[in-house]
């Protein structure tokens, strides 16, 4: 049973099924709301905060908030876009992102968003943290320099009996992703491949494979992030 409800995004009348998350509802109406930690079909977590919109004047993450009848949503406003840009900049300075040398360049959602939001020089000074590259797993290379702590791998990669393969350890600025030593080793090739694919940046990479698609022909080399939604 579906109930269509009405709401507005930046004054534009939209319709969607009640209970749809705002980000999906916007997509169905041809409106792009940038996301980074969100993965379609997996329970959202609202970690990156990039999809923040104002719902009836209050900041909410559109990946976790269901639409309701009569909602007035602000999305593409200078205020919100500047916050999004600041979030992207902060993610850049928090890690060590050297795009030209990164396997994920051109397919990287962080990079694509930085282009979309016209990031030039981050407003925050670079932190240049020392982070490790962990190649101990037989299936994956884990590069903490590039990890933006979006939790996609934690939420999407589970064993057949539902156990977590990835997890956050510590807290605050010390958080990092760990892979369960046992389950990480037992991971199937398919699951490892899925982990690589869902990572929005180049933090999870396959072993012994790389640069299969030449630079220049990669996903966001061809069209900017979000344009597929806006074309509809």
């Amino acid at each position: 049973m579906s109930t269509l409800i009405k709401f507005t995004i930046d004054g534009v009348e939209c319709m969607a099924e009640a209970g749809t998350y705002i980000v999906e509802a916007a997509r169905e109406n041809g409106i792009y709301i940038p996301t980074l930690c969100n993965i379609r079909g997996v329970k959202p977590r609202g970690s990156c905060r990039i999809c923040s919109v104002k719902v009836n004047g209050r900041p909410m993450t559109s990946c976790t908030t269901p639409v309701a009848d009569g909602m007035e949503i602000e999305n593409n406003t200078p205020e919100i876009n500047d916050i999004r840009k600041a979030i992207i900049e902060a993610l850049f300075v928090e890690g060590n992102h050297f795009c030209p040398a990164c396997e994920k360049s051109g397919c990287c959602e962080l990079q694509a968003l930085a282009y979309r939001f016209k990031m030039m020089v981050p407003r925050f000074p670079y932190n240049f943290p020392r982070k490790e590259v962990d190649a101990s797993s037989p299936k994956l290379i884990k590069d903490h320099n590039r990890c933006i702590l979006c939790k996609r791998c934690i939420r999407a990669i589970k064993t057949e009996d539902g156990k977590n393969v990835f997890a956050f350890v510590k807290r605050g600025r010390n958080v990092r992703i760990i892979m369960d030593p046992v389950l990480g080793e037992q991971m199937s090739d398919e699951l490892a491949q899925k982990a690589v694919e869902i990572c929005p940046v180049g933090a999870l990479l396959p072993r012994e494979k790389g640069y299969q698609t030449p630079i220049g022909k990669r996903k966001y080399d061809l069209e900017p992030i979000g344009s597929d939604i806006e074309k509809k």
């Binding site: 990156c48 905060r49 916050i83 979030i87 977590n164 350890v169 807290r171 892979m179 369960d180 389950l183």
Partner: protein, 602 residues
């Protein structure tokens, strides 16, 4: 050890939602949680190793290596510094020969910093093997370390009488003082345990209870101020197999300690409040989530719960009300301020990292174990008992029209009588200063509502404590003129938020840190006017964070700029408009040292 571990896991029925309890028991038995223990726990609970580690590594009081036979956690809150913490810390380091964060080579003593332990009225204070030591001085530190070396047990190390009231209880035996300075409906001794259950609840329907609470207009006392009656009603109407009442006794806001006093002196009132809430919403289980720092009250609180069971104030058919079954258990935290946020608290109680949840859904619909859950502050639940006893109408005669009732304040800092004061809403900050014997000529600022609140100066001392002016969870820190407001207070508070961020939101993880770096740049005399404006702007980014911690973590900086802008202006070079943080001599120092050359920099 292996046997003990098995017993611990068995004690909690191999239930993975009780992971916190298991880890707390292992930590307290072994002094740390070893890799072997982690493996064993993961195996027995049938969860991944990574799962155990993600919970364990989140909490300050869990450690993966030994923390010493005697583990000292010295509070590093602002008021501790105001009361001489630095000298105490130095004395600990001098007497032990180690730095904070280390353990002596013989494994005897470990020294660690810790966030506010709820003893601001008797600082500097420390937890040593879970027992509280207050009013520390370098002299006392010398004695303590000598006593440790002499192998004394914790109680043999006390040099003062036990504190007053229930601090003297055989099950508590603590030197902590209550410092109750002003009483009202919550703190008054005029209370007969169980009376409201037996005389009122028995003749009221749950709806009537909710109606009475609504009539009183009481709002949540934790700080957010949500109407309590409404919360209970939402939960009553929510569908679920089982409903829960949580008491949030995780007071971690630096400067607040009133729940410590209520838990010590009025636990029966609190538990009766939980029973009332349980009756009103149709819950069968109550859980008191208590911060780890108050572990010294555990045995005592458990004995009170047992007493209530024995007198039919908990358990089956409570007070003779047919079919009304409700019991309470204690759930301890393990050192995480963010767990005071209600959904983080629920996550923690489920054995997970204390990361706040995304809302909606709200706990009243989907809370503990996904069931409808009410989370109320200690003080709210206590007040509910008095509201039922005297009527909602009576409650509205206390306080102001919009903020009814009383508030228990934790007042500390530069005043003659730090302690706990129960006042009606509507007191001005000036009243507070007079009441506590602060020298008003000498007060430069008051921090209202702890670090997440507001820093105000004398011009605003006429403002009122109430929900529509200065809303507060009850922490007031009085700051004398001898302190450097930005260096001693604002920096410490901002660092506190950095330490206590769960790290889930990119904003809270990053922006607070960036703001502190910029603040330090200004304090180093390298700031420009634009840096101050940047701080104000960056503070706005934090407003899109998920929880109250992230949303308010810029408050120390932003409210101090708003109310003490001149302190910032004095530090920046007014005539410069370029970035000035680059230090050439520092940048070339290493190479100059290596080559032996002396640079000509000008």
């Amino acid at each position: 050890m292996a046997m003990q571990l098995e017993n611990i896991i068995e004690k909690y029925n191999k239930d993975k939602t009780r992971l916190m309890d298991i880890l707390i028991d292992v930590q307290s038995e072994e002094g740390y949680i070893s890799e072997d223990a982690i493996k064993k726990i993961a195996g027995e609970l049938d969860i991944s190793l990574a799962d155990v580690k993600q919970t364990m590594s989140f909490y300050h009081f869990f450690s993966d290596k030994p923390t010493g036979k005697y583990t000292v956690y010295l509070n590093d809150s602002v008021v501790a510094y105001m009361m001489g913490r630095q000298k105490v810390k130095e004395a600990f380091e001098k007497e032990t020969g180690i730095k904070f964060g280390e353990v002596t080579p013989d494994g005897l003593i470990g020294l660690f910093d810790t966030s506010c332990i709820g003893m601001n009225d008797q600082e500097p204070a420390a937890l040593i093997n879970g027992k509280v030591f207050t009013d520390l001085t370098p002299f006392r530190v010398k004695e303590i370390i000598q006593d440790i070396r002499d192998g004394k047990n914790i109680e043999e190390m006390y040099r003062s009488d036990l504190g007053e009231g229930e601090n003297r209880n055989e099950l508590v035996r603590s030197v902590v003082r209550n410092n109750i300075r002003r009483i009202g409906p919550v703190l008054s001794k005029d209370y007969i345990p169980g009376r409201v259950i037996k005389e009122k609840l028995t003749s009221m329907t749950p709806e009537e209870v909710i109606h009475e609470i609504k009539k009183s207009n009481i709002r949540g006392r934790g700080g957010a101020g949500f109407p309590t009656g409404l919360k209970w009603e939402f939960c009553r109407k929510a569908k679920g197999e089982k409903k829960y009442i949580f008491c949030n006794a995780d007071e971690g806001e630096p400067g607040t300690f009133k729940d410590r006093v209520i838990l010590t002196e009025r636990p029966k009132l609190l538990f009766e409040g939980m029973v009332i809430a349980g009756y009103a919403v149709g819950a069968t289980e109550g859980i008191v989530y208590i911060r780890y720092e108050y572990m010294y009250l555990k045995k005592y609180l458990e004995s009170i719960l047992q007493g209530a069971r024995d007198r039919n104030l908990l358990g089956k058919n409570i007070g003779g009300i047919e079919g009304f079954n409700f019991d309470i258990r204690l759930q301890f935290g393990a050192g995480a301020y963010v767990c005071g946020e209600e959904s983080a608290l629920i996550e923690s109680a489920e054995g997970k990292r204390g990361e706040p949840r995304d809302r909606p859904p709200f706990p009243v619909e989907k809370g503990y174990l996904d069931q409808p859950t009410v989370v109320n502050n200690v003080e709210t639940l206590c007040s509910a008992v008095k509201i039922l006893l005297n009527g909602g109408e009576w409650y509205t005669t206390l306080g102001t029209a919009n903020s009814t009732g009383t508030k228990v304040l934790s007042i500390s800092g530069d005043c003659r009588y730090p302690g706990v004061y129960e006042v009606e809403w509507g007191f001005s900050v000036k009243d507070i200063l007079e009441m506590t014997g602060a020298d008003q000529e000498d007060v430069q600022a008051v921090q209202v509502g702890g670090p997440s609140g507001t820093l105000i100066g004398p011009k605003e001392f006429n403002r009122l404590l109430c929900y529509h002016d200065l809303a507060t969870g009850g922490s007031l820190i009085i700051i004398g003129k001898q302190h450097n407001l930005l260096k001693d207070i604002v920096t410490n508070f901002t660092q506190f938020f950095i330490n206590e961020s769960c790290g889930s939101c990119s904003t809270c993880r990053n922006i607070t840190f960036q703001m502190k770096e910029k603040l330090e740049k200004i304090l180093d005399g390298k700031g420009i006017e634009k840096d101050i404006d940047d701080l104000v702007e960056w503070g706005k980014i934090l407003k899109v964070s998920r929880c109250g911690l992230g949303q308010t973590s810029a408050n120390p900086i932003v409210t101090s700029i708003r109310n003490f802008r001149h302190l910032y202006d004095e530090l920046v070079a007014g005539d410069k408009d370029f970035e000035s943080e680059f230090d050439l001599s520092e940048a070339v120092k290493a190479s100059c040292d290596a080559t032996g050359r002396i640079p000509v920099l000008n």
